[in-house]
């Protein structure tokens, strides 16, 4: 088990994420059908299949940042919709912040904070708007706290996954203010946001990859 993010862990994270998306795309699509347009699962499925192919083709000396950056640009060019540019930019910006062959927990948390910043800049959403931000923000905050408290990457990523999952669940009672769900007004209440759900899935994939 590793305590740093290296190329291998970055690859394992993306592969684990792709497998989880493949397993759960129908569930994500069903969530999106309820308050969006019913494509979130297929969007991410198409995207992560392309991501796995793209990062597999990278050189053996790629940095974790290169791997994540490649994943990001692949998502941007393959997914479309809202989630493609958002997740794509997040990973691209996070990747750009990880130039070294390995990154410790603090560096990872910083990079993901930068990625979250890219999502916020592009989409203009804040916590509570019922978007992926509602899972992303608490997950990054959990990583930062864990780094500050000296936790291991394993502990930190597990805490981040839990925080993301709690954040996703917490979108249920919210009324959406961004994205398609906002068109529904009060009718968006009572449904879990698909993007927040997939964000939780991505942080859970990180925790699993770290443990594996």
């Amino acid at each position: 088990m590793r305590n740093d993010l290296d190329r291998e862990l970055a690859l394992a994270w993306l592969r684990t994420a792709a497998a989880a998306v493949e397993r759960q795309h129908e569930e994500l699509t069903a969530l999106d059908a309820a308050i969006g347009d019913g494509d979130h699962g297929s969007n991410l499925r198409r995207g992560f299949a392309a991501v796995v192919a793209a990062v597999d083709a990278l050189d053996a000396d790629a940095t974790p940042g290169t791997v994540l950056g490649k994943a990001g640009s692949t998502l941007i060019s393959k997914v479309g919709g809202a989630s493609g540019p958002l997740y794509g930019s997040a990973l691209r910006v996070a990747g750009a912040a990880l130039p070294a062959p390995t990154a410790d927990l603090t560096a990872l948390a910083e990079a993901l904070r930068a990625g979250l910043g890219a999502v916020q800049k592009l989409g203009g959403a804040a916590v509570g708007d019922k978007t992926m931000i509602d899972a992303f923000e608490p997950a990054v905050a959990a990583l930062e706290r864990a780094a500050f408290d000296g936790f291991t990457l394993r502990e930190a990523s597990a805490l981040a996954a839990e925080a993301a999952e709690a954040g996703a669940r917490a979108t249920i009672p919210l009324q959406a203010r961004k994205g398609r769900a906002s068109y529904l007004g009060p009718r968006s209440v009572g449904h879990q946001d698909p993007g927040a759900t997939s964000t939780a899935l991505l942080f859970r994939a990180l925790a699993e990859a770290v443990t594996a």
Binding site: G36, D39, G80, G81, R177, R180, R187
Partner: protein, 331 residues
């Protein structure tokens, strides 16, 4: 799910194959998923490009041709196109006189088109964007992603396309597009839900005697559910909702688009049009031009949308200008 498809994954590629086979007058770049005029690039002509998720046919591919779009970029079903695809369209059609994007206001579309505009700028190509947001079912406030772009897109593409065809400058083309947006309002009613192929089941359940009022074109439910009523009453609500949000007064002329959402027979659309005409006449409004048919659809959704564009001599003249596309031809 009952659809004439091969697999949910191949819907777009298979449809592009059919469009390529059916329309030799168009170039279909199946690799990059771009449909463009075969005579592109046209040096000195402003390039008008649109795109959006598939499932709204004939929008946008059916409006590519002389007098309207230079290129269309279809995304996956209900998913905006990606920046690379839009950049490929820019490269294939740019005639050196500037590019105007027509973008329906959805978070995904806005982001992907703006990323593409950045990429084009890096190549020295200046892109202007006309954002279409005509759907009065959505409150235009900071509590939403803003009004959706729906039926008015056809009007915008028509008038901007006509002006571009005449050799106008990019700023003028974008500006007449924006004027058409500002002059247009739409509202839609659904009798049934749409089924996204990859989802495999309808986006929502609707009892036999209920409809969704204020739907968009992506299969999402509307603002509220209501009982099914006679066409006359439904149309009255739709017209009144639009007029309440429109700067129209007695004596004004409009372009009226009665648009089928995909599964509604033309017979019914004409019934709706008759009621629209009667209601508008009561309000002292004159329909100067009209379209009745399937123009901006939502897969297999039954229902209709109404778009009213306040007309003026310039818009009418551009509306009447010749156009030669798969879905709209005149002159």
């Amino acid at each position: 799910m009952k659809k004439l498809i091969n697999t949910p994954e191949s819907v777009l590629d298979d449809a592009l194959a059919g469009i390529a086979a059916a329309h030799p007058e168009l170039t279909v770049d199946r690799e990059n998923r771009v449909i463009h005029r075969a005579d592109a690039p046209r040096p000195g002509k402003v390039t008008l490009i649109s795109g959006g998720g598939s499932g709204h046919e004939p929008l946008h591919g059916g409006f590519v041709g002389p007098g309207m779009l230079d290129a269309a970029c279809p995304g996956e079903v209900f998913t905006s196109p990606v920046p690379d695809q839009l950049l490929a369209a820019v490269r294939a059609t740019d005639g050196g006189a500037g590019v105007v994007f027509v973008v329906k206001n959805y978070t995904g579309d806005v982001m992907n088109f703006s990323l593409a505009a950045e990429l084009a700028a890096e190549e020295g190509i200046e892109v202007r964007t006309v954002l279409v947001n005509d759907d009065v079912a959505v409150e235009d406030s900071t509590f939403t992603a803003g009004r959706r772009g729906t039926g008015a897109t056809v009007v915008v593409e028509k008038v901007a396309g006509a002006l571009a065809e005449r050799g106008a400058k990019a700023a003028e083309v974008a500006s007449v597009g924006e004027r058409a947006v500002a002059a247009s309002r739409s509202f839609a009613v659904a009798l049934t839900a749409a089924t996204v192929p990859a989802a495999g089941r309808p986006g929502f359940d609707l009892p036999e005697d209920e409809i969704e009022v204020g739907v968009g074109i992506h299969g999402e439910p509307g603002r509220r559910r209501a009982p099914l009523r006679p066409a006359r009453e439904l149309v009255a609500e739709v017209v009144d909702t639009i007029l309440a949000d429109h700067t129209l007064s007695a004596g004004d002329e409009v372009i009226a688009l009665v648009n089928g959402l995909g599964a509604t027979p033309l017979l019914e659309l004409y019934i709706v049009y008759g009621e629209v005409a009667a209601r508008l006449a009561e309000r002292g409004l004159t329909i100067a031009r009209n379209l009745v048919g399937n123009y901006v659809t939502s897969l297999d959704m039954a229902g209709f949308s109404l778009t009213l564009t306040k007309a003026d001599p310039e818009l009418l003249e551009l509306w009447d200008a010749p156009v030669h596309t798969a879905a709209l031809r005149r002159g």
